[in-house]
Symmetry: C2
Subunit: 369 residues, 2 copies
Amino acid sequence: MTKNDFSFDLLAKDGSARAGLFHTPHGDIPTPIFAPVGTQATVKSLTQQHLKELDAKLILANTYHLYLRPGDDLIAELGGLHDFMSWDGPILTDSGGFQVFSLSDMREVDEDGVTFKSHVDGSMHRFTPERSIEIQENLGADIIMAFDECAEPYDHNYIEQAMHRTHHWAERCMQAQTRQDQALFGIVQGGVFPDLREISAAHIASLDFPGNAIGGLSVGETKEEMHAMLEIVNDILPEDKPRYLMGVGTPQDLVQCIQRGVDMFDCVLPTRLARHNAAMTDNGRMNMMNAQYAKDERPISDTCTCYTCQNYSRAYIRHLIQSREMLSGTLLSIHNIHTLLNLVRNIREAIIHGQFDQFAQNYLSNLDL
Amino acid sequence: MTKNDFSFDLLAKDGSARAGLFHTPHGDIPTPIFAPVGTQATVKSLTQQHLKELDAKLILANTYHLYLRPGDDLIAELGGLHDFMSWDGPILTDSGGFQVFSLSDMREVDEDGVTFKSHVDGSMHRFTPERSIEIQENLGADIIMAFDECAEPYDHNYIEQAMHRTHHWAERCMQAQTRQDQALFGIVQGGVFPDLREISAAHIASLDFPGNAIGGLSVGETKEEMHAMLEIVNDILPEDKPRYLMGVGTPQDLVQCIQRGVDMFDCVLPTRLARHNAAMTDNGRMNMMNAQYAKDERPISDTCTCYTCQNYSRAYIRHLIQSREMLSGTLLSIHNIHTLLNLVRNIREAIIHGQFDQFAQNYLSNLDL
């Protein structure tokens, strides 16, 4: 296994939208792709059999959470994340950076790393680029991330400092990497500032990672700002490497960001909405608690081919929610993840057939936002 | 469909233990059988696919709960319980009697029926034998139960009155039944008193139901008392009808009650223990929270063939519990139900091969109670 085994075949382009195939030691990932999130080494409420049947091609796990509990050393001892969570397909871990900045009560950044307090038990910890890579090597995912600082998007001065730190850390992560069977992605930062995004994209591109991520978006800025930054960054990032937009998104986001050259996504949205009784469909969201579904024999979506829609009615799902039965979370998670995976599959087909713009226009006009 | 379609083939006897086949409109039930409980039309945390893969041959749903929420009329409108919960195998509903007596804050019994307060919203309701049958006909299970009074087991005078009421109610249930595609079972009562159990078994047997249930046990009496009552009752109940011991039990109970001529069981134990982090095995229970499992790569049971044991380690299940992840309840429910279903399958084989006593002796001696 060498870094060259993580090759990316760009199969088709339609405008800026791309269809490709990213090779990893645990299987090929067709792009565009959406990765369901298994924060604590479990995509909430689903067995790995459910994920196989959903044909999930990539799942994400969070370094910050697994480092704190059960510990990356324990997972390494048990054979790594694939064995631990019984998932033999591709896995991606983030660097822990985003969670340190968003979940920890207290964190202090210096040029060398970040000291932070655990949200689990209040104990103190320190992440550096080297430590993040060590932890991610213990976890053993196929795709790992450089340690970055995700700062508030509107403070130009601070964002500039954080961006330079992120660039230095990216180089340290490259140096620290010892395993050849993991693809390390660099992360572009720069907030909502075109000048900084240009500098960051050019710097990260120059480091020649096997893939590049775009961080610091979908953190409070407007959609227009996000789209503008994507256009700037994706004009600079190399064509022959996959581009991963972290923590996004909604069906609308997937369409609009693929339209701007993004290949990979992850988001907790489908499972989080499921736990809040919401179904995602190609026509928008449905609140399954709604009394109008009490006697509704139809599936969530008439055209959906997921296990939930093939077997259960809106009335039954509403009854489960009313009765506070766990199964509602499982059934809605299956449906919501299917909706996003099916969307990226359809988009990929449209790109390959040169019909993406038409697909996007139809899809977005049917979406009741 | 006539009542004769619910025939029971007694295939083998070994001592008092019996192996049989009970025919129902939604499939044959091999006996002895254990029925997982789906109180609110869902076996907690499991999809129907899980239940199919577990090869569950019969599941139970609770009339009291479904009458209150979502309502038996709504379920009837949606095609009955099989369609509603997407389960095409045999279903059994209880009469609602037991829950009225155990769950309702306030209930008043008279000769005609019971008035009670809903545990959901405090509203007042009334069940009579006729109403219980009407509700169970709306639900549409394959096996339904006569409405009975399950009284405290130690008050001879009161138990005697309640037993006579139960006998009258059993006759009224028979009269009230209009559907021919449901097997109505009578219920033997009589507390811990041999004289009353004899009277009750003889009376219920004389009514010639397609199957007979034994109620009022496992409600606080000792195991010795329960076993003594089973021996008395099963000496009187007809050989050519299945015998159903309601609300039991543990692996030990299954072995010891099959030994005394019982054919059918149901209990919430496997799913309830799962939600309390306990695994049931042929060697006793394991508390999966226990620190000793933190790095344990083995499955819950080395010899178990369930989905959970084929795919996940003790360490992973403990991690899910520690992280309060829902998947632990699903994985432990799969394992626990498998343990009981596998036990009754093994017992059935042993009975057919005339080796039940040896099986029972081995099994009970390996069980660390």
